[in-house]
Every structure is written in structure tokens, then in C-alpha cells.
């Protein structure tokens, strides 16, 4: 029925990074890690075989949410926290589009926590770039839901008393079919992870650690100063090892608690992107006792929400004719002469 214009698409094979760079000036602070993420995304998109006009970036409000302005694609810079819900409507209406959500830790976990959670549980086909700088950047430095306990900010001059939430465990709790984590300033790592997310069939959130040089500088140094000890790189089917030459491994005890064992111990766990319990365990690891996990924690295929929605519509259409005149005239009627 829909009369959307029938359109000849452009050829995606000809696309290069430059095609995704608009003329607009990028206005993040010099040194902000947001630049690095922008760069990786602009590199990634031309490799996906999708016509440029089919990309839509939807963001909320925050420094990170300025992202769509810096992409030569369709872009919506909306209101604070609501991007996942707006994108859900767009993806439901237009499953042909490749819809990306760009959001910050405040945008997605403070005001937008519920929409984020529901997009995940519904498994809507959205790629979600969660710029986690553990601070509210745009509003000049209040603590966020991911800020550490005791953090001193303008809104918590004696230190924050809010226990932080971990976006990854939250996503797992909501039933996410995909969840990944990457360092925003580690180009290759980020690229690899985003390349996986881009190809996931349904909701694909990536938590990206994003250093804010102005209001939370150095927040992620702990993961880069001694990378081998501080980062656990997860590879599906491979043992979960870290440290110098993989001399340490992650295992699990009888209470279901993670433990560190020698890298060659027989009980070193093997990464399995299908196991949500394992993903939860890996997400819970954190320094100093453990390394922090990076990469794809979980990836399972499950019908996306829009696929189910359109299958239902298609089935209904196959079964019943959409005759508007008949619909209006249905039920008990009578004739007045």
C-alpha cells in the first residue's frame, strides 16, 4: 500500500572513507577521544556494502551525540535519552535502513536507561555506539551513572555516593544478543569490534571507553598503562588468557566465582560468545584483582524485532485482503432509505 518513492540506490562498492566526511566542522575539544571513534566509523562504513543513503545515525544529547553532524549520512540529533526509542520507530518503519544509535553514558544510562534496556530486550536491529566517558561532558562535568564511587565533581564536591552501573552487565541482564566493549583510543581494537557489531542482525551495542580530556582526563589509563595485565582480549573458541605471553587464565570455582589460574591450567575457561553466564562473569572482571575484558562478550543470532514485526504483517496480508471499504462496512450495519 505504501507509496514510498521507489529509488535506484547508489553503488556502495565505490564508497570510501571520504564519502562519509561532511563539510561541517567537528567541534569536539582537541584531544577528545570522540574523534578517534568518528574516524573508525568513517573507515568502517564503506566496507559494509550498504549504499550511503541507507545509513541513518540517531543520537540523543551530549558531546557524543553530536556525532551525526559529523557523518555525511542521514542524521537525527534528537532529545536527551530517547535515541533508542526513536531509532526503534525508524527501524520498524524502515527495516531497509542501517540504523545506528549514538549515545553517551548519561544519555543511555541515566535519562535513557529504560529505552536502552527495552531496545536490547526487544532485539531491535540497531547498532549502538555507547560513548562511555564516565562523566557528563556537555553539561560540564557532573558525575554519570558509570562514574566511580567517590568521584569528585561539581555536583559531588565531597565525592559521589552512587554505585556505578556497568553497561555490559546491564545489557546482559536485559537479554542482549550482542554486547561488546572497546577502548576508544585503540583504533584497531575498536575497528574490529565495530566491524562485528555492524554485521550483527539485531541490537548490537558496543561500550566504548572514551577519555574526556576536559572533565575526566585519564579515566581509562588504568587499562592502557600495563595493557597485558589490565586487558583481557576475548576471542570466541579461544582460552581466556592474559598477562605476559598469556601466563594467566580465567577459571571459575564451585561457587560460580571467577578466579585467576596459570595460563596453562586445564580449567582455563574457553570463550564462548553464546554463553550469557560466561559473558556476565567476564563483564564482572575488573582491576586490580582481574583484568578488564575487551572484545565481543556475547553474540547470538535471534530474530530481530523488526523481522518479527514484518513477518507478522506479511503473514496477515497473505491471509486477509486489506479492503478498506469492506472494513468500514464490517459489523452490524443497516440501511436507511
Amino acid at each position: 500500500m505504501s507509496s514510498l518513492p521507489v529509488i535506484a540506490h547508489t553503488d556502495p562498492s565505490a564508497l570510501t572513507r571520504k564519502d562519509f566526511v561532511p563539510s561541517a566542522e567537528v567541534k569536539w575539544c582537541p584531544g577528545c577521544v570522540d574523534y578517534s571513534i568518528l574516524n573508525q566509523v568513517q573507515k568502517l562504513l564503506p566496507t559494509l556494502g550498504i549504499p550511503r543513503e541507507n545509513f541513518a545515525f540517531v543520537s540523543g544529547i551530549g558531546c557524543s551525540s553530536r556525532f551525526p553532524f559529523y557523518m555525511e549520512t542521514f542524521g537525527l540529533h534528537t532529545i536527551h535519552g530517547r535515541a533508542p526509542a526513536i531509532a526503534t520507530g525508524l527501524k520498524l518503519a524502515r527495516p531497509d535502513l542501517d540504523v545506528w544509535v549514538v549515545t553517551g553514558d548519561g544519555d543511555s544510562l541515566a535519562i535513557g536507561g529504560n529505552h536502552f534496556m527495552h531496545a536490547l530486550r526487544r532485539n531491535v536491529g540497531l547498532k549502538v555506539l555507547l560513548f562511555n566517558n564516565r562523566i557528563y561532558g556537555l553539561t560540564k562535568g557532573q558525575y554519570s551513572p558509570t562514574s566511580e564511587l567517590g568521584k569528585v565533581t561539581k555536583s559531588a564536591p565531597l565525592g559521589s555516593i552512587d554505585y556505578p552501573v556497568d553497561p555490559v552487565t546491564l545489557a546482559l541482564g536485559a537479554g542482549a544478543t550482542f554486547i561488546a566493549r572497546a577502548m576508544g583510543n585503540d583504533g584497531p581494537q575498536l575497528y574490529d569490534v565495530l566491524a562485528r557489531a555492524a554485521r550483527h542482525n539485531a541490537t548490537a551495542p558496543t561500550e566504548i571507553y572514551t577519555n574526556c580530556v576536559i572533565f575526566n582526563d585519564g579515566a581509562f589509563d588504568q587499562y592502557t598503562e600495563n595493557k597485558a595485565e589490565a586487558q583481557l582480549r576475548m576471542v570466541h573458541g579461544q582460552p581466556l588468557r592474559f598477562g605476559k605471553d598469556g601466563d594467566k587464565g580465567i577459571a571459575i570455582d564451585q561457587h560460580g566465582r571467577p578466579i585467576v589460574v596459570p595460563g596453562d591450567a586445564p580449567n582455563v575457561l574457553v570463550h564462548d560468545e553464546q554463553s550469557d553466564v560466561l559473558a556476565f562473569l567476564l563483564a564482572r572482571l575488573s582491576p586490580p584483582e582481574f583484568p578488564q575484558s575487551f572484545g565481543v562478550l556475547r553474540a547470538v543470532e535471534r530474530d530481530s524485532y523488526e523481522a518479527l514485526a514484518h513477518a507478522q504483517i506479511a503473514a496477515a496480508k497473505a491471509k486477509r485482503k486489506a479492503d478498506l471499504q469492506a472494513l468500514l462496512g464490517s459489523g452490524e450495519t443497516w440501511e436507511v432509505r
Binding site: 500500500m1 540506490h9 543513503e53 553532524f69 555525511e72 537525527l76 525508524l90 518503519a93 535502513l97
Partner: protein, 632 residues
């Protein structure tokens, strides 16, 4: 046996019983049969607030009132001529409304000790003389039904459930109505699933009818001759269903898929339910996590090229304010349906009210004007939904439709339109990239609808103020002023497409009633009565609340007084005063109920001439100038 038949002009009847007694069904059946017989009808269903209030209590009483007539009727009537009461609580709750001298048909089985206790009555009104002012017909409907079903295979409890059909049969006899329509309905409804139930119900229905015929309790039966109604095919339609059908029709007229993003809330949920059943029309209904997701998902869908709508009631409208602001800033079409209920806060969720008007017009931060419409009857909900979609698309703007609980659940005969005769809704998607600017405007001041997926139209928009042509973020003061005034001008421009305001009744005279929304029928009825008494009275019923029609001041000037009746504390009054500087008389009521005709007559009384000049000849439809109240 008395075979007298008395002819009546209009009758008001109310069925009342416990919510388990099937009164809504009984009322609906009576309405349909009556409409089929050619009467004009107007109905008012009245549910209890609790989902399952304890049986037999006052809180559990459910009612259904119908006015039917041999001329046009506009309200379910003020006071019932006939009350059917299935138990003591139902009598207690409804008695006060019944006309003195009216008829009470009561099921005496519902007045035993237990029932009286639950109703909070010390003694039985059937016995204490308190019903002396009425004609009381008490019969043990329960026992009579049981007797009628002797020999069927049904148990006592199931059989008892048929008692409403006995009552219905009796009332059918009373008003000389055929049983066929209801028998057909029972067949269709029960024959497959439980043929015994069908059989029992039909038996009860016939028994009630026969009882009327034989028992010497009625002096005579009545007949209300058919009304002169516009020819065509009709069906009964509730406001909520009409909105759903209107939205689907609008989508078809525009050649778009319909997207509804919504969160359930009384009394709006049924719109979702109706639309969810229309997947085969390409309808997507998205039951969101909350009202905010409801409205913003619709914005996303609209951006993608769907006809997008969201439905809610007052508390939800409050939550959608920020989202609507985004839609009007991005200038995307969106239909927002608010089915008003008693407020503030959770208020009276099952009752009707008109108190969201100013919230609809002003309830967003910043200068954020948008068109606001209100349907006047359940069937008009259909046309108003289409009109809202038309404005939304033509002007690229969110539009609010203010329905209410009374329209939503109320039912009236709806003349089934010829789809082919309804004007299309033109949609122009921008496809040409050359010279494309996201905020360039057409003659309606609308910007282009530019869909993602269109090569060369890649652009970025959002909630920040934008450059007046390119849509790029602009912090420039002059540009902001220009944009603020342009958005206001765009909405003001909607009024240019209005037909001249329709005046019902006298085109000038003593009093003009100005109303909006569901008070249409009550006001119409009052105007008719006043004119019959010889007064010169007109009625303007506004469908477009924002922007207001340009010709109101001229019309107002033709009457000595302008009275504005509303189910709130005077919101339209305030609006008219502020916009037109006219000292209108505000008449308000905030009881979760529609106006009675008598209340409006009283309101008019101080402003009427002492000696009306002459009796008017009431022509059918009494319109001053006669454009159809349809989407012309």
C-alpha cells in the same frame, strides 16, 4: 390481554445491573435493534471503575442508557423514562436519575437480604414505599428465566446468566421491537463455541417477550416511529474505533503505512486494540515501554515516511510534551490523540472531562505552537482523525486531537462513507537532490519530507535551532527569531484551509452557544429545545481549537450573549477571551459526566429574552448554512 399500542416521540431507557450481569451487551443489542428499526439513537455506557468490583455492590454497578426517537437525537437523554434494574445496588445508584412517574422494571430476585446488604440498604425499596413516585414493575427475572430454561442442558449458574436476555425480550415487547437481530447475533456469537448457551439465551429472550405479551402488567406497548435520517448504510461506531478507522483510512488516502507508537492507558487503549487487529492493512502497532517511547518512536517512523500516530490520555500527554516539541522542531507530521479523562494526576480514569485543552495548546516549553482539533461525536472521530492527518502532512507538523472518555466509549450510528469519494491526502516526498535544503518551505510554509534512503538527500536535523534554509545548527539570534515566527506562522496558516464556520440554529439572536468536543450533543439538544420555545439561539461547535477560525469575532457579534459550556473550569472561554477579547459567559461542570440538557437550559435562562417572539418552525437538521460536518 391489552393490545393497545401508544405512539411516542422519544424514549430514554437505561439498563443497569451488576458488571457481571451483561448490561453493556443488553444495551448494545437494544441499540442496534432500535437503529435497525429506523430510529435515531444516542447511547451512554457507564462502566464501574474497578475491574471486578465485588458483585452486588454499588461500586460494581454497570449501566447503559439509550435515547431513541422519531427525530434526530443528540444525547442519550437527561433522565430515563424507563429503568431496568437487575439488583438493589443498580436501583440505588440509578433511581435518582429517573424521571418522576417513570417506569422501573426490577428483578426482585436481586433484592434479597444479601443483595440489600451489599447495596448498603437497610430495607427493601420494593417494600418500604419509597418508590411511590414511579410505576414499578417488579418480577423475579431470575426465576422466570430458570423456568424458561427448564429442560435445557445448562446448569443453574449458566442458566442464570441468561437473565439479561429475558429482560431484553421484555423490553423488546414493550417497544414493539422484533427479536430477529438479537437472535442472529446470539447465533453468530455462541453457536459454534457453546450451542447450549446460544439456545438458552434465545429461549430467555423469547420468554421475556412472551411474558410481556401475556402478563397483564403493561397497559400497552409503545411504538417510536422511524426518524427521518439521511439515507445510507449505517453502523454503530464508538469514538475509539472511529479514530482507529480514521487513521487507517487516512493512511490509505495518503498511500502510506500507518505506524502507531503507544502505551496503554484508559480510556485510549482500545484504539491500540482496534489497530493491532489490522496488520493486514500494513499497520504497525508498537506497544512501547512508556508514553515517551510511544511518541518518539512515532517520530522515528514519521521520519522514515510512515503516517505516524500516538495515542494516550492526560497523564500520557503530559509525558509526551518534550517529544512533541522535538517533532515540531524537526517539522515532521505526527498525529497525537489524547482521549481526555478526569484529572489532574490519575484523577478519575474512567470518567470523562475536557480539561486538557490548554495543556494541548500551551503545554510545551518554548514557543511551540501546533494545531489542535477535537471531534464532536463518536462518528466524527473518524473524520477528525483524517483531518488531523491531512493537516499534519500538508503542514509538516504534529497535530493534537482531543477526544474524551465520553466519545471514546460512546456509540452512535455512523454513515459508512464511500472511500472513493473521500479526497486523497497528497504526499510529496522529496527525491531530487539538486537544490535541496531541508528547511526550505512551500506555500503552506511546510518543509520537504526527505526520507532516508534517498540518494543525495543526506542531511542532519534535530532539536537544536536550525538555520532557516539549510537546517544546520544556528545560534544566531535573528535566525532564531525568524524561525520562531515562521513556525508560528505555519500553524496560523492552517486556518486558511478552514471552511466558513458553521452556525447551527439561528444565525443571529439572543444567545450563541460555543462549544467543543463531546458536548456537541448536549448543546445541540438544548439549542433545539430553546428554539422550539421561540428563542433565537445559535450554536458554533469548534473542531479547530488551534488555530481558531478567523470568522469567529464576526459571528459572535451577531448575538447578545456568547455562552461557552465546557466540562472543565473554562478553558475554551479563557482562550476565546485572550484571542478575541470577548466577554463570553463561561458555563462549567467538572463531575466526570456530560452536560444534561436541563443544565444548559438553566445556563441560558438569565440571558434569554423574557418573551420569545414566536415559535420557530424546526426544519430537519436546523442548520443555518448547511455544509456537512464531514471532511469536505
Amino acid at each position: 390481554m391489552n393490545k393497545n399500542v401508544e405512539t411516542l416521540d422519544s424514549v430514554v431507557i437505561r439498563f443497569a445491573g451488576d458488571s457481571g450481569d451483561g448490561m453493556q451487551l443488553t444495551g448494545t443489542q437494544f441499540t442496534e435493534t432500535t437503529a435497525l428499526a429506523g430510529n435515531d439513537v444516542a447511547t451512554f455506557p457507564d462502566y464501574p471503575a474497578e475491574i471486578r468490583a465485588p458483585a452486588g455492590t454499588v461500586a460494581g454497578v454497570s449501566g447503559f442508557q439509550i435515547q431513541f426517537s422519531s427525530h434526530e437525537v443528540f444525547t442519550p437523554g437527561d433522565a430515563p423514562d424507563v429503568l431496568v434494574a437487575m439488583n438493589a445496588a443498580a436501583l440505588k445508584v440509578n433511581l435518582g436519575d429517573v424521571k418522576k412517574g417513570g417506569t422501573l422494571i426490577v428483578n426482585s430476585a436481586g433484592f434479597d437480604k444479601k443483595n440489600l446488604e451489599k447495596a448498603g440498604l437497610a430495607r427493601s425499596p420494593l417494600e418500604d414505599g419509597s418508590l411511590a413516585a414511579y410505576r414499578v414493575i417488579a418480577l423475579d427475572v431470575t426465576a422466570l428465566t430458570m423456568k424458561a430454561l427448564e429442560g435445557t442442558t445448562l446448569g443453574r449458574k449458566a442458566a442464570e446468566r441468561s437473565k439479561n436476555f429475558f429482560a431484553l425480550g421484555l423490553v423488546y415487547w414493550m417497544f414493539t421491537r422484533p427479536l430477529e437481530h438479537t437472535i442472529d447475533w446470539i447465533h453468530a456469537k455462541f453457536a459454534k463455541k457453546s450451542p447450549e448457551v446460544a439456545e438458552a439465551n434465545i429461549a430467555a429472550l423469547k420468554a421475556g417477550h412472551v411474558y410481556g405479551e401475556n402478563a397483564e402488567i403493561f397497559a400497552h406497548s409503545f411504538v417510536v416511529p422511524p426518524a427521518a435520517i439521511e439515507p445510507g448504510r449505517y453502523k454503530n461506531l464508538s469514538g475509539n474505533e472511529a479514530i482507529a478507522l480514521g487513521l487507517v483510512t487516512a493512511a490509505q488516502l495518503a498511500g502510506l503505512d500507518l505506524f502507531l507508537g503507544t502505551y496503554p492507558i484508559t480510556p485510549a487503549s482500545d484504539i491500540l486494540h482496534h489497530l493491532a487487529a489490522l496488520r493486514h492493512f500494513g499497520v504497525t502497532t508498537f506497544q512501547a515501554e512508556d508514553e515517551i517511547a510511544g511518541v518518539v518512536s512515532a517520530i522515528g517512523a514519521s521520519y522514515g515516511g510512515a503516517l505516524a500516530a500516538t495515542t494516550t490520555s492526560g497523564p500520557g500527554l503530559a509525558l509526551k510534551g518534550e517529544g512533541m516539541g522535538l517533532a515540531l522542531m524537526m517539522e515532521l507530521p505526527l498525529v497525537v490523540i489524547d482521549v481526555q479523562r478526569g484529572g489532574p494526576s490519575t484523577g478519575l480514569p474512567t470518567k470523562t472531562e475536557q480539561a486538557d485543552l490548554l495543556q494541548a495548546i500551551f503545554g510545551r516549553h518554548g514557543e511551540s505552537p501546533l494545531p489542535v482539533l477535537a471531534p464532536s461525536t463518536p462518528a466524527d472521530c473518524f473524520w477528525t482523525a483524517i483531518e488531523a492527518a491531512r493537516i499534519a502532512i500538508r503542514h509538516m507538523t504534529p497535530v493534537i486531537v482531543l477526544s474524551d472518555g465520553y466519545l471514546a466509549n460512546g456509540v452512535e450510528p455512523f454513515k459508512i462513507p464511500d472511500v472513493a469519494a473521500i479526497p486523497r491526502i497528497p504526499v510529496h516526498f522529496r527525491t531530487d537532490p539538486s537544490g535541496f535544503f531541508p528547511y526550505e518551505r512551500d506555500e503552506h510554509l511546510a518543509r520537504p519530507w526527505a526520507l532516508p534512503g534517498t540518494p543525495g538527500l543526506e542531511h542532519r536535523i534535530g532539536g537544536l535551532e536550525k538555520h532557516q534554509q539549510t537546517g544546520a545548527i544556528s545560534y544566531d539570534g535573528d535566525n532564531h527569531e525568524q524561525m520562531v515566527r515562521t513556525r508560528a506562522a505555519k500553524v496560523a496558516k492552517v486556518a486558511e484551509s478552514y471552511a466558513p464556520t458553521e452556525v447551527l440554529g439561528d444565525a443571529s439572536g439572543e444567545v450563541l452557544f460555543v462549544g467543543w468536543g463531546s458536548t456537541y450533543g448536549s448543546i445541540r439538544q438544548a439549542v433545539r429545545t430553546l428554539r422550539a420555545r421561540g428563542h433565537q439561539v445559535g450554536q458554533v461547535h469548534l473542531r479547530n481549537l488551534n488555530p481558531l477560525p478567523a470568522d469567529l469575532a464576526a459571528i459572535f457579534g451577531r448575538y447578545r450573549k456568547v455562552i461557552v459550556p465546557e466540562l472543565n473550569l473554562g478553558q475554551l472561554s479563557f482562550l476565546l477571551r485572550g484571542k478575541l477579547l470577548v466577554d463570553v459567559v463561561s458555563h462549567t461542570k467538572v463531575q466526570g459526566k456530560p452536560f444534561k440538557e436541563s443544565e444548559l437550559l438553566e445556563a441560558a435562562a438569565p440571558h434569554l429574552a423574557k418573551n420569545p417572539k414566536e415559535k420557530h418552525e424546526l426544519i430537519a437538521g436546523d442548520r443555518a448554512h448547511g455544509s456537512e460536518r464531514a471532511d469536505a
